[in-house]
Amino acid sequence: MSQKNRLASGGRVDRAKALNFSYNGRQYPGFEGDTVASALLANGVDIVGRSFKYSRPRGIIAAGAEEPNAVLQVGATEATQVPNVRATQQSLFNGLVCSATNGWPNADLDLMGYVGKVGGRMMPPGFYYKTFMYPPSLWETYEKFIRKAAGLGRSSTERDPDMYDKVNHHCDLMIVGAGPAGLAAALVAARSGARVILADEQSEFGGSLLDTRETLNGRPAAEWVATVVEELKQHPEVLLLPRSTVNGYHDHNFLTIHERCTDHLGDKAPAGQVRQRMHRVRANQVVLATGAHERPLVFGNNDVPGCMQAAGVSTYINRYAVVPGKELVLMTTNDHAYQTALDWHDAGRKVVAIVDTRQNPKGDRIDAAKSRGLNIIAGSGVIEVQGSKRVTGVSIAPLNAAGDALAGAVERLGCDTVASSGGWSPVIHLSCHTGSRPEWRDDVIGFVPGKTVQKQHCAGGINGTYSLKAVLEEGARAGAAACEAAGFSDAAKGISLPLAEEVREGKAMALYHIPHTKPTSRAPKQFVDYQNDVTAAGIELATREGFESIEHVKRYTAMGFGTDQGKLGNINGMAVAAKSLNQTIPQTGTTIFRPNYTPVTFGAVAGRDCGALFDVNRFSAMHKWHLANGALFEDVGQWKRPWYFPQGGETMQQALDRECKATRESVGILDASTLGKIDIQGKDAREFLARVYTNAWAKLPVGKCRYGLMCGEDGMVFDDGVTSCLADNHFLMTTTTGGAPRVLEWLELYHQTEWPELEVYFSSVTDHWATMTISGPNARKLLGELTDIDLDRDTFKFMDLRQGDVAGVPARVFRISFTGELSYEINVQANYGLHVWEKLFEHGAKFNLTPYGTESMHVLRAEKGFIIAGQDTDGSVTPIDLGMSWCVSNAKPFSYIGKRGMAREDCVRTDRKHLVGLKTREPKTVIPEGAQAVNDPKQPIPMTMLGHVTSSYYSANLGHSVAMGFVRNGHNRMGETVFYPLADGRVIEAEICNPVFLDPKGERQNV
């Protein structure tokens, strides 16, 4: 197929490199250097999608990031699908497969279009809120329909085969945009020796210089670009990033850049190459040279394919050698857009008319148009377009001097393309990302960056500076100022800028919305925001309904939403709102843009942080053994802890029953290495402990351990653990597995901010020690075979610690118990952990030494009524609520953390929710954790709830279930009955009891 709109010569495409691509299932040719958009236009493809709400056919409008319509789904296979790709930003490669995202069943034949036509009146702004909210039960039905109608692309359902990357940078200057201003700034900065990053979203540097027919030093501007890029490449401190969009400008000069490394090479990245890379840049100084986007004008049916932005048309002609039509009508409010008519004419196509809204335009480009004999119709506007799938003609009419009313008869002209220009909007998105409010300038007819606290310099189009000479000068100045601020002075010396043509321009007219013979509400649709289908009438309606702030208008109409972020439409929309409210644009408000500037793939955001690298995994020294012995694992914080060790075809319950029984009948072993361990030293360590724990520490002798509860200042328990006295000024604190970092930070907080006078030091030693707990009546016999420590029951007592050798390595052995059985917690250096563990099993076979995991640990401790902080506590319970007043000392001289909180009026009530044991009437029934207690299960819903079950298991040792939970006033209701109504309709009856179900006198741990 021929490329009917392609010129025989010119442009920056390589005609020797023919490429083929597929769009909506059809094959098309293109050239290297094309974007998908330029190739589609070259082939005369008019329709690239259907509009979001009204399902109207839409064509390509612009040539850059501001394109609202040509948003495609790209990908040849399911795994390589990428949604939201702008055709104007996707370089063409051979074999590229893409399709329109909007349109069902397809963009050309769109059944939804009929709904749009019929239902358009039923879809005013805010139609979601008005129409689809009621009845709420139907929302899911509505939503499916709306989603399908909107068709905003889809992500792959398969794993992405490509690799993505992230990289951090620090630089002196980050220059955003490599147009004339950015290149001039970069040249200055590079020569100063500063470390520079220059990023541009396009495939090659040059920006507007790639599209223009203006000359520099009398030569094509692109030649100067090539010279500058060549020089920049020679500077070792300069990093050049083409195809890299600076998507976010965050606090303290932190910028994120989305580099598309291989998106232009193929559907998948070549083997071994990264597809996209996220650069995270901390810049000393930032130069924004982001340029400007041309604003199309708002007029009737301005969305019919063939309506384009004037500058976009010029770009297609000059850069891609594509003339997107045969007969052009240009409408403009300014001199600059005349260039589009000149380009069109010089490409050998017909310019039907230049419709200038100004009464008496004067300037060099107007003279150039006149000298070519082009038909200039001054003081007029295009009020309406004819055509549905492509422009067939326009209606034009004279305007009054203010441009707000028609001043004569309507005339029709035939054409297939309407280019319009309402002037330029500086691309201020990045400068807004950090919260800086833009400022309106009447002379620019646009918003420019406002005050900012960032170290930011702006140059060129972003400042509303548009003449090439001034842009180059501003770029060089901004580069020099940024260098100076970064400590590289005298940067601008010796820089000579290329000579630009001087073009005399007349004054532009501030006009956005062309009046029609009918009032806006009755005129053909005049689109402001193409991507979100927001019309001038919709904005007027929003203001009539009382939405006066532009931020409210935006939310009500969806203007500037989504991936578009209002690049083309925001200023026009504000102008319409301002006119409707009879005020100026700055009075109507400013508008803020958020990151990201254009869509970023999840791949680039995730980088390598996925799969096994998503988060840190922590393993104990015995992990290898657990794996070899069939453990299933539970995530506890970042730790992988053995959950249980099933044997043969055991169910989980069977495995737990076996593990728990073996422990109580002979001996079990638990890997407890993950418990937090904090080494505390210093002469005031003891005093410090007394202040952070609720119980007494003054008299704990060397060689003894003590359990402690830690509360917040509010008196609520937040962690617990055993702390041992190794020497008078040396303690080892243990914490819950998940609470270790928080406890350490808590201790540091109080030491550093409240009691710096105490001499005490904290050090995390969790990873230094491997900890294994052997528990059960045969624990002493087993350990006795491996240690030189005297294990005599009367010398090494419960809650004692001893140091000695175990299995030939130095060990600390603590006689503490979380099961209620005779237990020894053996701590050895982590590197010896596996050795000692294996030795225990060598000697343990005759005792049926049984490994158990976290689940059996839970059952065994619940049989004894021991709490787990974080499971049986939730930040709202005091030690008294837990029935642990034995662990609270009010005799301590210092008012420890939690004491005052516990004395608060509400905390001393005797009928708070209390932790109690729960014995089900039906012994085998296990109450689900989280179930709520009530007194009367027949009470109408909502029933009065008394508290929830926190721990609940089946105990094989006892032959019945055991549970703990909160019950209001529970400590005073022993023996009474509460009910647990469940979601499935069952009601479980339970008796309130002492939570110590097994061995209430504690004899087993003292054998």
């Binding site: 965050h250 606090d251 303290h252 000069n253 932190f254 901390r282 950090t434 919260g435 606290v453 200042e713 509010d714 930070e745 540091e748 907080l749 550093q752 901010t753 409240e754 710096p756 008012s895 004491k899 005052r900 909180g901 004395a903 608060r904 009026e905």
Partner: protein, 95 residues
């Protein structure tokens, strides 16, 4: 993302290394047991949420593990100064 100078390390580091710990200069009452419930509640729960200058406590959590104070503008997110615990801010809001 902030770029924070740690007064203990003497270097700028990325925000990822730090934790914000809320309002600075909250002195624990010297005699909590003789505070009224109201006074204790003020200490425990009542926090400033100013628009503009705010003095905050931070910790260089994955660095030196030391706490320090920061004067920060809650509108512009500018860090006006950092100073060690026990020192007073030099940048304060006009009253």
């Amino acid at each position: 993302m902030f770029y924070i100078y740690c007064p203990h390390c003497g270097e700028h580091r990325e925000e990822e290394e730090f934790h914000a710990k809320g309002q600075a200069h909250l002195a624990r009452p010297l005699d909590p047991d003789n505070c009224t419930d109201h006074e204790w509640g003020e200490y425990l729960y009542m926090r400033k949420n100013p628009r503009g200058l705010h003095h905050e406590l931070w910790i260089h959590a994955t660095g030196c593990r030391k706490f320090f104070n920061m004067t920060r503008d809650t509108v512009s997110y500018e860090i006006k100064e950092v100073y060690k615990v026990g020192e007073r801010p030099t940048v304060v809001a006009a009253s």
